[in-house]
Subunit: 126 residues, 2 copies
């Protein structure tokens, strides 16, 4: 069963997208694997303190992207293969890094300053 222990919705971005991305990053990290069972819509919404329809929208989007499989009455589960994972990893990394680089450039930082800042922050969190 996939755990949502370290997930908390924040505002500034649609909750259903945050759930979507949390699962995608978990898959890329190898924490979430092919065949893994997802919590039910009702249970997860209660756990997160949000509406069942919000979870449904996240799961429906995942199904539309062929990352999970659902059938009425039973729990949903991950359907991942190597090709999907490689594609997902490339996509998420590119999006994340390019967005950050763009912001830091806009603030006038040099490459060295950017690297130093990320390095410092990483150590602080460890």
């Amino acid at each position: 069963m996939i755990s949502f222990d370290d997930f908390r919705p924040v505002d500034g971005k649609p909750i259903y997208l945050q759930i979507l991305e949390y699962i995608k990053r978990g898959a890329v990290a190898g924490i979430i694997r092919d065949g893994d069972e997802l919590p039910s819509r009702r249970v997860l919404s209660a756990l997160l303190g949000i509406n069942p329809n919000t979870v449904q929208k996240a799961f429906k989007t995942l199904e539309d992207e062929n990352l999970i499989t659902s059938r009425a009455g039973a729990k949903s589960f991950m359907t991942l293969d190597g090709e999907k994972l490689r594609h997902l990893r490339a996509e998420l990394l590119e999006d994340t890094v390019s967005e950050m680089a763009r912001k830091l450039r806009e603030m006038g930082l040099s490459k060295e300053e950017a690297l130093h800042l990320l390095s410092e922050h990483w150590e602080k969190e460890e």
Copy 2:
């Protein structure tokens, strides 16, 4: 007059926030300075192809944060001092780096991998 040449609204985030952050990052970069004049609401909205009310919301928010000064009939202008700039810089850098680091960690990257990825991407864009 502050230029919006390299600004294009994208979707996924409210336009008024994108304008807000673009100006803040320009101030942190030193491209936008104290006393600089802003384009009028009507002119900027026409330039960006968006509604005047959207620009108004961005500018109103900036005024609420004491980063610009407006008076009826005249153009608005930046009101920045060293203290505001230092605070702004610290805030924007912290937000940007911590968000990116969180995402990369969620994807299971090590510090070295993250730094290498940012370095590679930076060079590709230069």
